[in-house]
């Protein structure tokens, strides 16, 4: 008896140690990022760094202004969301509400396979297939543009949005639909006024997680978007995202240089964005559970 209690306590203690360790790891990662990143403020003031658009870290007169990179990331990500949200949510509605079960069983794994394609393969596809097509279709000299990145990122995050939205729709109690049908509502009215609103917290979480995945994606945007660190004026300009900046410059940077600190600050911004998005998602989940 006493021994069993001891083993119970050991398990509890072990589990709590693991849980606390992961929190500690996350805190340490942020601490480390910020400890290196804030040193860039010794070279320029935060106003310039965050709101200036001149990213010239290796020139004679180096500049470390990040707004073009932040906007670059946001343009590609928001463009991808604009494509992936209607497709993903529409797909989820079709699979959970409309498609006959045997068809849904075939389609669902196909969509899940999309999630398993390595991002470098998608990036390669964007580079050699999509980019020439865009160049041809819009008459721009190079197809390596924000639009190219947005299109391929949309493909990448589609499974995330579809799967989580579909789960949310399937979790809507059957009673809601029955009640709606019994009122003489059509199938479409039931989807639009009952099923989708009831699944809205879950669909919002799906969208936020898709956003988090898109803004953190590196390889695809590095290969697809042209990587010019200029302020984009539209979707047909090349852009450089924060992630690809870190990935392509961190390898050659001198440790302890201003450029090195600047890249860490870029990492801090990314971390803050994805932290905020995930926090929002978990708050929505929590609110959904309470009501």
């Amino acid at each position: 008896m006493g021994q069993k209690k001891l083993s119970e306590r050991a398990i509890e203690w072990g589990a709590s140690a693991v849980a606390h360790a992961s929190i500690l790891i996350i805190a340490l990662i942020f601490l480390f990022l910020f400890a290196e990143g804030y040193k860039i403020f010794a070279y320029d003031d935060p106003l310039h760094i965050f709101f200036g658009t001149d990213w010239q870290p290796t020139s004679q007169n180096p500049r470390y202004e990040m707004l073009a990179l932040i906007v670059g990331s946001l343009v590609v990500t928001l463009g991808a969301m604009l494509i992936a949200i209607p497709l993903g949510v529409g797909c989820a509605i079709y699979l959970s509400e409309i498609a006959p079960p045997h068809l849904a069983e075939i389609l669902k794994p196909i969509i899940e396979i999309l999630a398993g394609i390595p991002s470098v393969v998608l990036g390669f596809f964007a580079l050699v297939v999509l980019a020439p097509l865009i160049s041809l279709a819009f008459g721009v000299p190079s197809g390596l543009t924000a639009l190219n990145g947005a299109l391929i990122l949309a493909v990448m995050i589609l499974p995330t949005i579809e799967t989580i939205s579909e789960d949310a729709l399937r979790a809507v109690p059957k009673g809601f639909r029955e009640a709606s049908f019994a009122m003489g509502a059509t199938h479409w009215e039931t989807i639009r006024h009952v099923a989708v609103p009831a699944a809205m917290p879950g669909i919002t979480v799906a969208i936020l997680l898709g956003f988090g995945r898109a803004i953190g994606e590196t390889m695809v945007v590095l290969m697809a978007t042209g990587n010019a660190s200029i302020m984009p004026t539209g979707l047909l300009d090349p852009v450089r995202a924060m992630t690809s900046t870190i990935a392509s410059e961190m390898g050659e940077v001198a440790q302890g240089s201003a450029h090195y600190f600047a890249l860490f600050m870029v990492g801090c911004i990314l971390f803050a964005i994805s932290f905020a998005v995930n926090l929002a998602a978990s708050m929505i989940v929590k609110r959904g559970q309470n009501s």
Partner: protein, 248 residues
């Protein structure tokens, strides 16, 4: 009001209703009783074609509600369900406000004028004996109501489109005795205006609220008649055994 002739129903290969023939009178309450799995709920769901949702379900025979041939290919299910409202076993208000729950039916049937909707919401909630409890806070989420209030809200929602028939599938089985008593009072008032068909597991409830009772056993109607007569002097042995609690 409702006439059923030789209704048979299958789920896949399993037949659950056998030649159900029944006439339900207008402005009466008719109870469908019987042990679990006897087909009473399946029959109830034939009347507004809710069984359509189940893919494997097949129905033969004839049901008429008022002038509507329920299973005729020409019948518009939307029109039928406007005429035949339904209340379910587990209270299932939408996760919306009280107002939106009641306004849902009129809204999908094209009523968008705010003042008219206000009037419908008030009338329906009054008829469901819920108005006085919620009139000050119609924008409150329906999920915050108690179980009995939720069920009365579902009744109000069903009444909002002015049906002629109200089908109730064990509406009190998830409720406590006090909430049940309130719903039973309500059903007694509703039959002045509506034809009520109620499936119930509670034999006393059938005795208290219904004018007619149909006893189902193994997918067939064993006995149908005035509730008072059936409970006093059942004609069939099986009915008597069920009513006296020897099985079921």
């Amino acid at each position: 009001m409702i006439h059923s002739r030789d209704v048979n129903l299958w789920y896949g290969r399993k037949q659950v209703l056998f030649d159900v023939t029944l006439d339900i009178l207008a402005n009466c309450t008719t109870s469908l009783i019987g042990p679990s799995g006897c087909g009473k709920t399946s029959f109830l769901r034939c009347i507004n074609r809710m069984n359509d949702i189940i893919h494997s379900c097949r129905v033969s025979g004839e049901i008429r509600v008022g002038g509507i041939e329920v299973y005729s290919p020409k019948t518009d299910v939307v029109m039928l369900r406007k005429k035949v409202g339904m209340v379910f076993q587990v209270p299932n208000p939408f996760p919306k406000s009280i107002y939106e729950n009641v306004a849902y039916g009129p809204m999908i049937h094209g009523k968008n004028d705010r003042r008219k909707l206000d009037a419908v919401v008030e009338r329906s909630l009054r008829e469901a004996a819920l108005w006085d409890e919620v009139k000050d806070d119609l924008q409150k989420s329906a999920m915050e109501l108690s179980g009995g209030q939720k069920q009365r809200l579902c009744i109000a929602r069903a009444l909002s489109i002015e049906p002629e028939v109200l089908l109730m599938d064990e509406p009190c089985s998830a409720l406590d005795p006090i909430a049940t008593a309130k719903i039973e009072d309500l059903i007694n008032k509703l039959k002045e205006k509506y034809t009520v068909v109620i499936v119930t597991h509670n034999i006393q409830q059938a005795a208290r609220i219904s004018d007619y009772t149909a006893y189902f056993y193994l997918g067939k109607i064993i006995e149908f008649g005035k509730t008072s007569e059936m409970f006093e002097k059942p004609k069939e042995k099986s009915t008597e055994m069920y009513l006296t609690g020897r099985f079921g």
